[in-house]
Subunit: 108 residues, 2 copies
């Protein structure tokens, strides 16, 4: 119903896969190259690459290219806003979204 639905859909679809959730958790410690991520799993590099592409498509990670490598890092705000937003919509009593300072005045 609300404008961010398609947005949200991509994020939740991305979160449906356990490998992708684990990648996000691994990225919590800071950016990792594609190869470093591959090393943390037993599945093939192309499969990981596809997962990363999906996460990027959902806006949950960004990439930085340096030399031969591509470094991936979390887009934390995106995750927090989409998932936290949904959570707040369904059980607002149970969660508090911590707003980013300086941006919260803008809307609503």
């Amino acid at each position: 119903m609300n404008e961010s639905d398609e947005d949200t859909a991509g994020v939740f679809r991305a979160l449906a896969d356990p490998t992708r959730r684990q990648i996000l958790q691994d990225l919590r410690g800071g950016e990792l190259s594609a190869g470093e991520i591959v090393d943390r799993f037993t599945i093939s590099a192309p499969s990981i690459s596809r997962h990363l592409g999906l996460l990027k498509g959902a806006g949950l990670v960004r990439e930085r290219r340096a030399a031969n490598r591509i470094y991936y890092s979390l887009v934390e705000e995106r995750l927090a806003l989409c998932v936290g937003g949904f959570l707040s919509a369904v059980c607002p009593e149970q969660v508090v979204l911590r707003r980013k300072r300086g941006r919260s005045a803008a809307k609503r």
Copy 2:
């Protein structure tokens, strides 16, 4: 990696579908019978029934049978703990999980 992983997996898989997310949001206003839920969508009753079964399997809704009907309602805590827990694991800075009083002393 942590014990609640399988648990979490079921919840995120359940949340991957937009119809199911909408059902959860609709249930926010209180319990609804299966038929009332069907009326809110354009897809068939059997399809809704399956979505409800999946949500129940994930522990996100409970059912109450009364007469001819089956009433579904949210299990808010389950949603908050699973999803909020993941969110806290990935971007702890951005979200606060509001703990249920009386149960929080147990672990740590």
